[in-house]
Amino acid sequence: MGFFDRLKEGLSKTRKGFVEKVESIFSSRPVDEESLEELEETLILSDVGAKSAAEIVKRLGEQAGKGGIREAGSVREFLRQEMVSMLGAAQPLVPFGERPFVILAVGVNGVGKTTTIGKLAGRLRDQGHSVLLAAGDTFRAAAIEQLEIWADRSKAQFVKHQSGSDPSAVVFDAIAAARARGIDVVIIDTAGRLHTKSPLMEELKKVKRVCGKAMHGAPHEILLVVDATNGQNALRQAELFNEAVGITGIALTKLDGTAKGGIVFAIKRELNIPVKLIGVGEGIDDLQDFVPADFVRALFE
C-alpha cells in the first residue's frame, strides 16, 4: 500500500464525517447564513477551534457574496484551498547537515512520545541511517524498558541510565556515545510533563542546554508530540512548550480514530509551528510525513 492510500485509510473516519457533512449541508441549499452556521459547527466539531472556524466561514461567506460560490462542489473546492493555504507548505523532518542529528521529543503525558520515537527510529533505519535512542524518560515506571523494546524492534542503538536518574546525564552520555560511534541520528525520549508544571519545564530546559553542551548546536529538531484527540488545550501545550524550549515541529498522533486533529489549524495559525509527522495507525510503518495538500486532499476525496 502506498503512502497516499495508507494516509487515506487512516483518515477515512475523519474524511467520512467531515466531507459527507459538508456535502449534505450545501447539496440542497444555497450558501446562506443557516448553512454557513452549520459549516462552522462541523469545523468546530473537528477541533479546528471556534476562532479558526469563524475565520474560514467568514471568508467563504465573503466569496459567496461576490457570487463566486454557489453549489456544493465549489464550496468543497474553496474549503480545500483555504485549508491547504492555512497549513502552508510541507516541511518534512529530514536529518540533514549535522552528524549526529539530534532530535528531542517532548510533550504532555500519554500523547505517544515513546511510540512515535520507536516508529521514527524504524523509518530512519529503513532509510539507511544509523540511529541511537536515548532513554530520557527516567520518571515513569518502565518507560526505559518500553523504549528498549522499540530499539530492539528497529535495530537502533540504545543508551539508558537507571530509573530515577537525571535525564540530562542520560542525554549527555547518549550524544557523546553517538559522536564516538559515528551515529547519524540521536532521538531523545523525555518524560511526559504537563506544560503548566514549571519545575518540570525547567528540567526540560536543562535537558536542552545539556544537548548543546554535548554537541554544539544540538538539539537540531525539537519535536512536540500532540494527541489528535486533544482539543483546544493542545494549543496551550504548543504555546508553553514553545516558550520553554522552542518547538521546531509537531508530530500529531492517534489520527486513526474518529478524532479530526483540527487543532493543527489553530496551532499553525496562532504559533506558526509546522506539523511534520502524523501517526495514522499502530504499526511501525504508520508514521507519515505530514503533507498539507495530501492531508486536506485525503479529507476531501
Binding site: 518502565a142 518500553q146 484527540t229
Partner: protein
Amino acid sequence: MFESISDKLDSIFRKLKGKGLLKPEDVEVALKEIRMALLEADVNFKVVRDFVDRVRVKAVGNEVLESLTPGQQVVKIVNDELCELLGSSASKITLSPNPPTVIMMVGLQGSGKTTTAAKLARFFKKEGRRPLLAAGDLQRPAAIDQLITLGRQIDVPVYSSRDTKDPARVGQEALKKARTDAHDILIIDTAGRLHVDDALMEELRMLRDGVSPREVLFVADAMTGQDAVNIAKQFNDRIGIDGVILTKMDGDARGGAALSIRAITRKPIKFIGVGEKIDMLEPFFPDRIASRILGMGDMLGLIEQAQRSFDQKEAESLQQRILGDSFTFDDLREQLRKVRSMGPIENLLGMIPGMNRAKNLQVDEKEFVRTEAIINSMTRKERTNHNLLNGSRRKRIAQGSGATVADVNRVIKQYVELRKMLKMFKGKKGLKIPKVFPF
C-alpha cells in the same frame, strides 16, 4: 490575563442592574458568551447547543435578585444547570456484596489507565482493603513492567502472565488468584485501544464477560476535545461503563470533556487524577468542575485546601499575637510553611478566579525556600526583634543562608511592611484578619 466569563457577563449587564426581569435580548447576548466559553473549554458542540437552549428557557423572565448583578444571575443559572448535568453529588465505587469486587479500567491509549489503576489500588489499600492488580495490557511494550513497578511502590501485589496474549485469560487467572488469596478488590488494567478498533473492542468484551466486573471505569484524558462524545459513546455502547475517571486535571485544560462524556453516557464521574504521583487521585465534585469549565476557578477547592492546612486554633493564636503587635519572624516562617504545605503554588493560583489561564504565570517556589533559609539563619532573638538586625548581623545571616545581603534586606523589608499592614487591620474595628494571607 484571560477575563473570566463572569467578568465578561458583568460588563455586558452592568447597565441592567436593578432593572428587574432579564429580557430575552439581554439573555441572548449572555448566551453567546457562554456558548463561546463552553466551546473553548472543549465541551462538545451538540452538548453546548442543548445546554444553551435549556439555560435560555430558565433565564428569560427570571427575576434578578437584588443581591446579584444580572451577569452574576445568569452565571448562577448556568452554574446550577451545569452542576445538575454533572450530577448533584460525588459518587463512589460500589463494592460487590460477594468479594472480590472486580474493577476494569478501559480507555484510549495514553489516557492514564495504568497509573490510575495503581492510584485506585492505593486508595483502597488506605481504606484498609486488600486489592490485587492485574496486568491485562498485553499490547504496549513494557506495560506489564510498568504495573509491576507501580505495585511495588504501593506494596500491592500484581498478577501478570507473560505466556499468553489473551487478556481474557489473564482476567480469569487473576480472579482465581484474588479468590484464593482473599483479596477483596481486583483491579484489571487493560490495553489502550481506539473505540473504532473492532477486534480490540471485541477482545475487551470477552475479558468483561469472563470476569463480570462490578465496575467498568472509563478513563478519559481531561484534555480530550470534541471527539470525547464519540469515544465515550462507543465504549459505553460496546462494553458498558459504570463510571468515569478524568485524568490530567492538574493541567490547565478546562475539562469540558467531563460535560460531554456525562451528557452522552449519563454515567457519573467518580474520580479525577490531579498529578503524576501515586496519591494524586481525588473524588469528583461536580460544582467545582462547573466553575472550572466556565473559567471561574475553583474557589471551593482553594478554601478547603486552606482549611486543611490552617487549623482554627492556630489561626486564633496568630490573631492574638498580631493584635498584641508581636508578629515575629517565627510567625512569618510558620505562615510560609503553611502556604507551601497546601501544594504547589501554581495549583493554588490556578484555583483563583481569573488566574487559571493567566499567561506566563510563574511562581518561583525557590523564593519561599530562600526566605525560609534566611529566617533560619537568624538567632532566636533576632527573630523576635528585627531592630537588632544591623549591618554585620545581616551579613552573617546572608552568609549562613547562602543568600546575598540584598536578599536579606529584602526579606526584612517585606517583613516590616507586613507588620505595618497587620497593624492596619488592628486599627480598623470589625475588620477580620484573613486566615490565609499569602503576601
